[in-house]
Symmetry: C2
Subunit: 208 residues, 2 copies
DNA sequence: CATCCAACATACAGTCTGTATGTAAGTGCA
DNA sequence: TGCACTTACATACAGACTGTATGTTGGATG
């Protein structure tokens, strides 16, 4: 067995230090913004030195990316956990919406995932993270709901992206004090509209 | 008449210097990100010193806010200019959408207004700016379209906010290489769905 | 024309990021 | 088991940046 004090394997040390750093960074990044949080503060909170930080992460941005990654995974996990398999496509979408909005109420999450994340890592990187963890259930749910309807010949990928953006903005608005019921109703109306409307013909857009 | 060299009134000096700073900052903020752009670089580009900057603006963030403000106004102006008054509500909305997406193709605008803006100034400040310049035509158009339909009893404000978010994301996606036609179709589908669907009854959400 | 104030320029203090260097502890191999 | 090598840090340093304080010049003003 292991001695409880010294005598830790290198792998264990790495894992523990990285976890400490991410935990400390998460706490601070959710309290203040990314720019307002300095690495000296982070390492103080984590109980290590800046040397450890720059040994495990390429730079401050990489540490931030790790925090975002973990947080996105946490949100996805909460949503998956809330999904009951026995629902209709529409019910499942609504359940997923509620789970998402609830998950985003965790303090600081909107700043981390919706404000600083895109600005610091870029939209492309955030899209990649979103597509890896979350958004999967939303896209699948949408496609299922649309497939249930006969005539909707619409770009599913674009619709998914736009609806995800609406979800994000709803989370921000609710956190800012907006009516959760209103935003919920608006989101559902947007989704319902997709599978119901017999669309009028659309002329192509002017190219530029 | 004015001598072309010296002999400028104080008001003129202020106006010119502020304009130079905003112009230089805009150029750099759209090229790199807010954090990557330093005030020494900005004042060099503007041909003044940092003293002038901090005389006219409280801090770097205030200068950024001025740039965002001006850019939002420019976008709104482009949209207003493109709107023909003789269209139906739906046609007007589509024309506005096209004008918005076209306006957002100006290089760096998405970063300025959609990425760095919210992160640096906060969502609340960006909402205030959006509501002052742009978004007005979108909200009015939406309300008009919804009023044309009898039974849509939906929170107009929330719907406007969510649709605006979808527009923003569409602009980002298109800039990232997404199909403009797809996103245009998806946006129109979202809007059309609102005024067409006889909504199924919705149960209230669990409070938390 | 003398005073005052706005519009800057210059100098400085503090902080931050990233890197380079040093050290102790773990790991692999003969 | 002992030794070479590498990993996991800590410390020290260089450069840059932000905001402020101070100085200076040229309009405005009575």
């Amino acid at each position: 067995m292991q001695q409880e004090s010294g005598r830790r394997s290198n792998r264990d040390r790495t894992e523990a230090t990285r976890a400490d750093l991410i935990r400390a960074a998460r706490k601070l990044f959710t309290g203040k913004s990314y720019v307002e949080t300095g690495t000296p503060e982070i390492v103080a909170e984590a109980g290590v030195t800046r040397g450890a930080l720059y040994h495990h992460f390429a730079d401050k941005q990489a540490l931030f990316a790790a925090v975002v990654e973990q947080e996105a995974a946490a949100v996805a996990a909460e949503i998956d956990q809330a999904s009951a398999p026995s629902l209709s496509a529409r019910e499942a979408l609504i359940a997923g919406s509620d789970a998402y909005l609830k998950a985003m109420r965790a303090p600081g999450r909107t700043r981390l995932l919706l404000l600083d994340g895109p600005a610091v890592l870029g939209r492309a990187a955030m899209d990649e993270i979103d597509n890896r963890h979350g958004n999967r259930s939303l896209r699948e749910g949408l496609i299922a709901a649309m497939r249930a309807q006969p005539m909707t010949r619409l770009p599913a990928e674009a619709l998914t992206v736009l609806l995800a953006a609406a979800f994000d903005r709803a989370a921000l608005a609710i956190e800012a004090g907006g009516s959760a019921a209103d935003y919920r109703a608006a989101l559902i109306a947007l989704m319902d509209g997709l599978s119901a409307a017999p669309l009028p013909s659309i002329r192509p857009a002017p190219s530029r």
